[in-house]
Structure formats: C-alpha cells, structure tokens
Symmetry: C2
Subunit: 154 residues, 2 copies
C-alpha cells in the first residue's frame, strides 16, 4: 500500500506547455466499488496497465493499492465493464522539487484541463505557477471516477 497525497487545480492558461517533460495517453475505466473505495483500470500508451484500488479521501491523503496487470487483461475487463470511460493525455511538468501532472481530457470531458501535484506530506509548501487556477482538491465533481460518469460543469 502506498499513501497518496495530492492537490488538484483548474488550469488558467497553457503556460505549462513550456515545461512538459513527458507525455502519455491514458485510457481508464472504473469497476464500481464498495462505499469509500474506487477501483480503476488504466492503460497507458497501450503498453502498460494497472489495476488500482483507492480509498476515499481523508483530507488530501488516500490509500492506494496498485498492481501491474497484462494490457490484454485490462482491455478485456474494460470491455466487460462497458467500455473505456475516460481518456486523457497526461503531461508531466517538473518545477523545482515537485512534479505536476497536467491532464487534458478528451471525449465528453473535452475542454477540461486539470493539474495535480503529488506531495511528500500534507503540509508541504507548494509554489503555485501562474497557470494554476482554482483549487478543486476534494471536490467530487473533479474526481476522475465522477468525470467518467458525468462531465464536469466547469
């Protein structure tokens, strides 16, 4: 089990594009869950796949259990679950000691861009770049699981 501490923000403009160090395309689906848990299938660049169980958020932290699985398994389970529910391109943007992940959503969520930063502790200081907008950490409308079912009304 890993502990994941993340903050999430809307994005004001495309200034982040100057610092992209890595791009990957993500397809994911959710398998539903017991209350307080989410179960995610993710395929990255059609080459790697993970099954991930996350606990409900308490503050900024979530417990995360992640297992690599064969891409063919992930494709078969995504099909059984009713098809991919969320597609996005993830851009890694490293600034100082922190890595931001800027997700540009596709399909029904086209137009939505979210930036996440993973922190070593809940109280770690974050220097916000000027392209960062409103913080949406903990806002259920911007949970990927929610976006997979219903586009965000931004």
């Amino acid at each position: 089990m890993a502990q994941e501490i993340e903050r999430k923000f809307l994005v004001r403009h495309e200034g982040w594009r100057e610092n992209v160090s890595r791009l990957s395309h993500i397809v994911q689906a959710y398998l539903g869950a017991a209350p307080g848990l989410s179960i995610r299938l993710r395929i990255r660049d059609s080459q790697t796949a993970f099954l991930t169980v996350k606990s409900a958020e308490k503050g900024l932290s979530r417990s995360e259990f992640e297992y690599p699985i064969p891409v063919s398994d992930a494709e078969a389970m995504i099909a059984l679950s009713g098809g991919p529910r969320l597609q996005k391109t993830r851009h890694d943007v490293v600034l100082g000691d922190l890595k931001w992940e800027v997700d540009v959503f596709e399909g029904v969520n086209a137009g939505l861009v979210l930036a996440e930063v993973e922190l070593p502790s809940e109280t770690h200081a974050v220097s916000l770049p000027d392209w960062i907008g409103e913080e949406v950490t903990g806002d259920p409308r911007f949970y990927n699981e929610h976006l997979a079912q219903k586009p965000a009304d931004t």
Copy 2:
C-alpha cells in the same frame, strides 16, 4: 485471463469427508462491481492473498482475472471495505479426474455447505457422488458475493 467453468451443488451428507486431500481457511470480501462483474479479495490460511475480477456467468462459464497480492494489502482493503464478509473452510476432494471443493461456511452462513466442481469444458461428464444434492449452478442465492451480504435461505 482464465475461463472458469464450474457447477455448484448443495450437499446431502458428510460422506465427502472421507476423501479430503487438503483443507484451507478462506476469508473473503467483495469490493462491489460494475454491473456484471464481481471483485473479490481472498486471503487463504492467512498466508496468500488474491484480488480476483470475475465476469457475470454465461451458462457455466465465467471469465476470471486473478492477481496475487500481499496479504497486508488484502487485509487493509478488507478493512477499508467494511470488514470480512465471508469465511469458510474449503476441503479439496479429488474423485477420478475431477477436483471437488466442498465449502463449509461460517458466521451468518453457518450450516451451509456447498460443493463446486471445476470442469475442462461445459459438456464434460460429471459422475455425481452420493453426497451431492440439488444443483444450484447459476442460482444467485448461492453466489458467494450474495452470501456475503445475505445468508442463503436453504
């Protein structure tokens, strides 16, 4: 992915106990699921653990995706999901070319005994031992996921 072909039966008497080749104690919980899929955590003899995704049954066959995970992960996820929902002792009983699994349930399902046999094909002949009772293959009341929520009314 594996394909699982199983038939399930009630048990009439304890004659199966003469042929038990292996015993193991199973604790399991379900993480809910998308329609048509179940997601199971299982800990066997406190020593091995698996996360298993199964498709809905079509006839006798189900698709099964099973991943070994650390026991500590399984324990943490079972706790997050609200605790173990089903406990049973599994008895392997080998008869001819087939392995039967006789599950003696505990807790709210105490008194229930179910026998399952895994088959190499849907049409494989099964010689039924005299301790086998009514067939309950495909009867939702006897799905383990259902028993985890509501005891069977046998």
